[in-house]
Amino acid sequence: MVTTVERAREVAAAVPDPELPMLTLADLGILADVEEHDGTVTAWITPTYSGCPAVAEMAGDVARRLRAAGFEHVEVRLRIDPPWSSDRISAEGRRKLAEAGIAPPVPGGLLTLGPTRLAVHCPQCGSTDTEELSRFGSTACKSLWRCRSCREPFDRIKEI
């Protein structure tokens, strides 16, 4: 017997991310929790960066999907504590990122003062002969890299 909250969680967990639609909000660790009290379903989401411009989209998408699945009373709330971390991206999420040509973050990766020593694999050819072109990329959560073996540029999710 599947409970209401379990069913709601399943629906919310399947909502794709508006920027990276090959991943779900659950894969990215943005969906923090789903609760149900007195017939109201509450979905909690944790935005990635402070300035993430997709929060309204995500909140709207989650609410719409839940309503479409038959939940009448739905609210979406932000949970900003604890803050989002790239460590929250699931193993499945990391696999999907790599498949989409985006290098996943290294769990527990830390900033260093010197040149970075993390081995970043090219998501196209797998080579570790890669270099960072810019620490900032097309969205707040990505940096821009290049593979010196296959010469292809690629995005990489930053550790935060």
Binding site: P53, A56, E57, P83, L113, F136, G137, A140
Partner: protein, 293 residues
């Protein structure tokens, strides 16, 4: 969609009762503290906390606006993208802090009302962040000074009694570390570069250094809240001296900029450079009051 006119059909929220759909991606703005518990923490004067959030929020908002002014003007595309990213982080922090200030100050103003409808004497940012951009060396010098100080401050605020301020700081400290690293890498590159780049980098530091001390000068609200910024002074100066040393630059010895009758940015006393910045920031909102887009 029933309307023939594409704009109308889309702007009509596609017939959704809750109006959540928008006519284009990214045009919707959620309350940055949507559904976050707004109760003020016990034992803290909400007015003081509001004033403090406004100070930090205005720092972030004004510097964000300065960084955005680099877009289309940066020396390389990568730097433009980087500066826009830093500005976006700061804008996000400002949105949360201004929203928090409006929740606590008793006026119920939202982030837009605070950003667009206050005049310069109601802004509480330090003067360092409002100064005109200058050259790229000044851009990275200011970023290095601000990011080093703000990272240090956020680290201390991450366990603040106000859960909202603490959460802004806990995420902000990680974002500011990226900002500091970015600024640091350019200060090193320009300082330990050619004779010309070294001179320009040193000139930039000399020009901005006198404004640094305002970040460490306590306001009475900060003292009442127990967040004395004077405690940041030593660790921040140590860190900056370390970077400048590696970059073969010297730590400027210029005296701090004077206050006006004991008042400066935190009291609403600004340089003449803030007014034009706010005019640019606010013109659309003021020309079309209440407009949504």
């Amino acid at each position: 969609m029933t309307d023939d006119h594409v704009y109308l059909s889309l702007s009509d929220a596609a017939g959704e009762p809750d109006g959540e759909a928008r006519w284009a991606y990214g045009t919707g703005f959620a309350d940055p503290l949507l559904g976050v518990d707004a109760a003020p923490p016990s034992g803290i004067d909400p007015a003081d906390l509001a004033a403090y959030c406004l100070m930090l929020g205005d720092d972030a908002l004004v510097l964000s606006q300065r960084l955005i002014q680099w877009v289309t003007r940066a020396p390389e595309l990568e730097e433009e993208v980087a500066l826009a990213n830093l500005g976006l982080d700061l804008l996000g922090q400002a949105r949360r802090l201004l929203t928090r200030a409006g929740q606590l100050d008793g006026t119920g103003r939202n982030e837009d009302e605070l950003a667009y409808w206050r005049d310069e004497f109601d802004y509480r940012n330090v003067r360092l962040v409002e100064l005109e951009n200058g050259d790229f060396a000044q851009c990275v010098a200011r970023l290095l000074m601000f990011a080093t100080a703000r990272e240090e401050l956020y680290r201390r605020l991450a366990d603040h009694a106000d859960p909202v301020l603490a959460a802004v700081a806990a995420l902000g400290v990680k974002e500011l570390a990226y900002h500091r690293e970015y600024a640091q890498s350019w200060v090193l590159r320009l300082g330990d570069g050619t004779e010309h780049s070294r001179r320009r980098m040193q000139d930039a530091l000399d020009a901005l250094w006198p404004w640094l001390d305002e970040l460490f000068t306590p306001h009475e609200v900060e003292l009442r809240l127990g967040v004395d910024p004077l405690q940041l002074r030593e660790p921040v100066l140590d860190r900056l001296a370390g970077v400048l040393g590696v970059a073969t630059l010297s730590v400027p010895e210029a005296a701090p900029r004077a206050y006006v009758n004991g008042r400066a940015g935190r009291h609403g006393v600004h340089t003449e450079e803030l007014g034009p910045l706010l005019a640019e920031l606010q013109v659309v909102a003021r020309a079309h009051p209440g407009a949504t887009w």
